[in-house]
């Protein structure tokens, strides 16, 4: 009897799985993807060739420490978002560079939302083409380290924003990124 029930339930689950929907690609998506691939693929090939040709050191990851503050529950540190001098780094085109952002918190925080917004031409390694990436994360009391590996794909540079939100509080950390 129990076996009959299990078999019937399995059949029901299989029927649900067979029906499990997915949305078709939006009109034009395939065409756009193809254009981006050929454009981006060509650019990467050119960059690879240039790096090889000039014997440049490839993809050496250098860590820079940017100790700034997101002091939740305490007054915001200068340089956070009050117009004071913004910390900055300089990175080379197509050369991954790890920046360690240090966030300080007065208390431990669960389920904080961290959003990193990138300027045009700066990408987070592993997230090509994405201008904004959001994580849910937890912070310990004290200093918390967030390593971000940045790659410059354009020379414009700009400001990276890291916004931390928890309950109704939020702080934004600004980092100037220059590209050489």
């Amino acid at each position: 009897m129990q076996n009959d029930d299990s078999n019937r339930q399995d059949q029901e689950i299989l029927a649900l799985l067979k029906d499990y929907p997915m949305r078709a690609a939006d009109a034009g998506f395939y065409e756009q993807a193809l254009v981006r691939a050929t454009h981006e693929g060509s650019r990467r090939q050119r960059n690879r060739w240039m790096l090889t040709g000039f014997g440049a050191a490839i993809a050496a990851t250098v860590a820079a420490w940017v100790v700034g503050g997101l002091l939740l529950g305490t007054p915001e540190l200068p340089g956070a978002s009050d117009g004071a001098a913004i910390p900055g780094i300089t990175i080379a085109l197509q050369e991954p560079r790890t920046v360690n952002l240090v966030f300080a918190s007065a208390t431990s925080l669960e389920s904080a939302m961290l959003t990193v917004s990138l300027p045009d031409g700066i990408e987070l390694d592993g997230f090509p083409g994405q201008r904004e990436i959001t994580w849910e994360t937890s912070l310990n009391e004290g200093k918390n380290l967030l390593p971000l590996t940045l790659v410059a794909v354009g020379t414009a540079g700009g400001e990276l924003l890291a916004r931390l939100e928890h309950d109704d509080r939020d702080r934004t950390f600004r980092l100037r990124v220059d590209v050489i």
Binding site: I13, L17, K18, P21, M22, A24, R36, Q130
Partner: protein, 179 residues
């Protein structure tokens, strides 16, 4: 080969597999944006390997394997960060509007609710289990096809499938979706 010829050759090789690849991306990631990103990243990578691609007998299978490896690499990067994306584990709702409706609104609603619960149940499975059960039971991949994609022994795939189904049964029985 000129750039235009190269682009044309690439398109002729990959276009026939677009739908299959998009479906795979969707089943792996469970969300439209992530599926589109994965699809895009695959094409960029494949374009860089055009010289290899033209010599492959079954480019479709090769492209699927590359996509799966990209997906796994991405997941590992997240694991190393000890963070997770907002979307992770939140498959609920995305894609459900694509469900065809019937002529009976009550039955449609019941079915939609069951699919929503299945969505939530699938989100509770590990990636390994979720991918195997979706590829096999939803997409109709054969065990051998899954093996060539994820490169683990058939016995392991069978075991994952069995465990995934058992876990789904437990979850869906507990929430009353199946009785």
């Amino acid at each position: 080969m000129s750039s235009a010829e190269q682009n044309l050759a690439f398109e002729q090789l990959v276009r026939p597999h677009f739908e299959r690849l998009y479906r795979l991306a969707w089943r792996l990631t469970g969300a439209r944006e992530e599926a589109e990103d994965l699809f895009q990243e695959l094409l960029i990578k494949a374009y860089g390997k055009l010289d290899d691609l033209v010599q492959i007998d079954e480019p479709g299978s090769w492209l699927c394997r590359v996509m799966y490896n990209l997906f796994i690499d991405e997941r590992r990067r997240f694991a190393r960060r000890r963070m997770h994306t907002v979307e992770e584990g939140q498959l609920i709702g995305d894609g459900l509007e694509g469900m065809p409706g019937g002529n009976d609104p009550v039955r449609d609603n019941e079915r939609l609710e069951k699919i929503r619960r299945l969505d939530r149940a699938l989100a509770q499975l590990s990636d390994e289990h979720r991918v195997v059960v979706l590829l096999h039971d939803t997409e109709g991949y054969k065990l051998e096809e899954i093996q060539s994609l994820i490169d683990v022994p058939i016995g392991t795939i069978k075991s994952r499938l069995h465990r995934a189904r058992a876990r789904l049964r437990d979850i869906l029985r507990a929430d009353g979706t199946i009785t």
